[in-house]
Amino acid sequence: MYAFVTGPLAWLAFGIFFIGLIYRAVWYIRGLDWKADRVAYTEYPSYGFRGAVRSIFFWLIPFGTRSWRFYPGMTILFFVFHIGLLFTPVFLRAHNMILAERWGFSLPVISDTTADFLTIIVLAAAVFIILRRIALPEVRNLTTAYDILLIVITAAPFLTGLFAYHHIGNYQFWLIVHILSGEIWLIAIPFTKLSHFLLFFMSRAQLGMDYGIKRGGMKSKGLAW
């Protein structure tokens, strides 16, 4: 079983993840239409570039935009959640050991204590994000079961990873479930809203170019996000 989930299934999951994302990127860019979107995307590269970069940059900084400042609680939840989601799996010592073993290279690693801390933070943030969805009427009204499912898919590798690492219950069982849940997560990214992993950047760049080229970017210092 272990050989299967870390062998063919892992190849499949990573394959779908990367090819899926490349497909989404190509599909998105090919679908941009200067006439239908009413943005002269290619006519003013420097304005377009500046608009896109500004639009992404300010939104990647905690409290960097008026919207982030307006919802401080959500902003903290959001950044903690996403930083944990990205950093933990990529820089985890155990993951990089596998990488070194199989591919002969590895990335810098974080200590296991840090990883534990990040994992617990991710899980706590996921719980609060779900609570927020239930507590706030304006968010509750928007929330669907699909939204909750995606949070569960995203949080599952962290919970199972925690169990496996600390040998809570049956190690072999949790290890397999951990790997499987990670693979489900990877596969889900290109097919679901989790595609915002990539499309966040595309969509932000698009609106940034819209403002940078068409809606005032050539007559101002740039939109104050």
Binding site: W34, K35, A40, E138, V139, R140, N141, I213, M218, L223
Partner: protein, 465 residues
Amino acid sequence: MAEGILCNKSPINTKEELYALLNDKSGKQYYQQMKDLEVDGDALWATIQKSMKSRLKTWLEICAHCGMCADSCFLYLANDKDPKQVPSYKIQSTLGEIVKRKGQVDNEFMRHVMDVAWSQCTCCNRCGMYCPFGIDMGVMFSYLRGLCFTQGFVPWEMKIGSGMHRVFRAQMDVTSEDWVDTCEWMAEEYEDDWPGLTIPVDKEDADIIYTVNAREPKHYPEDLAEAAILFHLAGENWTVPSEGWEETSLAMFAGDWEGCKLQVESVYDAIIRLRPKRMVVTECGHAYRATVIEGPYWTGRKSGQPPVETLHYVEWVAEALRTGKIKIDPAKKIKEPVTYQDSCNYIRNAGLGDIAREIMSYIAEDFREMKPNREHNFCCGGGGGFNGIGCYREQRNKGLIVKRDQILETGAKLVISPCHNCWDAIRDLEEVFKIGIRWSFLKPLLIEMAIVPEHLKVQEEEEEA
């Protein structure tokens, strides 16, 4: 397909159709007929498949339902934070639903979509600035209005407005003759006070071509005279075209993209015919948005720019004051507290926030900013056609309270509003809430404050002495 005589899927292209619709007071029969208007689901789906590209599809798909757009919407705030007024909900439950059902929706649903598209969104685009993914629901609602238009589910006034542009190339029934007559009349009317004042029509190779909002010749001709006086004071070499003088676009509010194109082409044709160096657009927000920001795309101009460099009126004013073409008498500057209404269409959506502040620095001693301001300012409450739709008057009035409170907070009793829509909304909010404010375009204030050069003054006739 069941279609009414007045309410149907065809746009208005003749005077007869237009006047038949106008004569149906308040659209009584029109809305009655709308109840029986069949939805052509296949055509709707075909339109969506053809026109909905990756940007819109992605926006619909990746919305995380986080609710961060909620407080960005003045209608959400004005309606006691009703969850049904959250921008994401409004677009997902209308456009999102149509797409999910592949266009197979019924009459009742489409009438609901019309209500949401015209009475719960003014296309101010503020929500797009607050969404982490950059989902601009104003853009999506504008697209949705276009879909509604193809199916005939359009508020009565919007259908008339689009028809006006198609028939008269103006949002009101003002013909070229009416327009030229008004220009001549205004020049004559004000000539005694302003010797040498003219409104040159169809002058070729002028420095400036000036274009307006049809309401001005129709209802506020003095606005045209004021523009002429200010150009006269500044010594500008300017002209107005006899045709292609109308900048506004109710067709844009209606979602009639073909009508938009026809209207804008008339202006571009005038530019090409008269070869001016620059164009100046009157104090109107959506006119500038339509003809300068969106228009180039409707007409397929790859550059995304109109045929000549174009200034919104505030840009011309700032330039005239900056370069001293018009000088302000320091003693006549506005002394009382005064605030400025940032129009969504040329501040948020065209980047002129600094220009507005520059003008205020020249003319006001106690300028008070609204909070929030510039590109983050709230819609006046009447944008996107909201002011003009009778059956949504109650919802419009409710929406005004956000602007009312913003103005009250500044403590100013004078609101400068260089946008027809904002100007109307602020006038109406005073009428509804009686908060004791005055509102004004820039032109009349500038004429009051400007220093008139000796050679332009009325010369007293010496024989009288």
